[in-house]
């Protein structure tokens, strides 16, 4: 299994509070991604990173920010959580010469 760890695995938070999700990899892969999964939508990309301090937006980036200060960590921040951000969040990684992506176990976030 690819070495990807997401934390926390479950979180309940209140509307308006900041939340940070962490993705940690031990594979030294260049590319890292954050997706959200919602019923009827499959997985949709929020943000991705193609190197340290290099990030770009995906199709559902509003309300989210990311940071990547070192290769192994990719942080997803909800500055002010809303109920529409209740979802399951997945991190994925991929190497430079490896086209296959691998996913973490997911983080279930509930905003009440």
């Amino acid at each position: 299994d690819a070495g990807i760890t997401q934390s926390p695995r479950h979180k309940v938070t209140e509307t308006g509070t900041p939340v940070t999700l962490r993705c940690h990899q031990t594979e030294n892969h260049r590319y890292m991604y954050w997706y959200r999964q919602d019923p009827g939508h499959g997985l949709r990309l929020i943000h991705y990173s193609y190197g340290v301090k290099d990030t770009d937006k995906g199709e559902v980036s509003d309300g989210y920010s990311v940071s990547r200060s070192k290769t192994e960590d990719f942080l997803l921040t909800l500055e002010s959580a809303t109920s529409s951000q209740t979802s399951v969040y997945f991190c994925a990684i991929r190497g430079d010469s490896i086209a296959e992506a691998f996913f973490g176990q997911g983080t279930r976030l509930t905003v009440v």
Partner: protein, 109 residues
């Protein structure tokens, strides 16, 4: 973005039956992967198959890139095959994967 359509959306099989899942995509792609999401939510890599045919045990996949579709075959289905099967495509390495909405498979004993 690329539109990815999977069919059927839902499938119920008797254990031992065979099935074919389809993924159509709207543009040329360099990469295509099939995933199985098990009942615990974990996404498991099945195939990386931008073109051609691959087999792994009871599962096989074929991608015809020129006609913009991929097929996933499941033979002699087992209850452990239950879950959601996703197809994901992308144009160039490093860009985003575009996911279909999945096929939900239930295998009954």
């Amino acid at each position: 973005g690329i539109q990815v359509e999977q069919s059927p959306p839902d499938l119920i099989l008797q254990e031992g039956a065979n099935s074919t899942l389809r993924c159509n995509f709207s543009d040329s792609v360099n990469n295509l992967q099939w995933f199985h999401q098990n009942p615990w939510g974990q996404l498991i890599n099945l195939f990386y198959i931008p073109s051609g045919t691959k087999q792994n045990g009871r599962l096989s996949a074929t991608t015809v890139a020129t006609e913009r579709y991929s097929l996933l075959y499941i033979s002699s289905s087992q209850t452990t095959d239950s879950g959601v099967y996703f197809c994901a495509v992308e144009r160039n390495t490093g860009n985003q994967f575009y996911f279909g909405t999945g096929t939900s498979l239930t295998v009954i004993p």
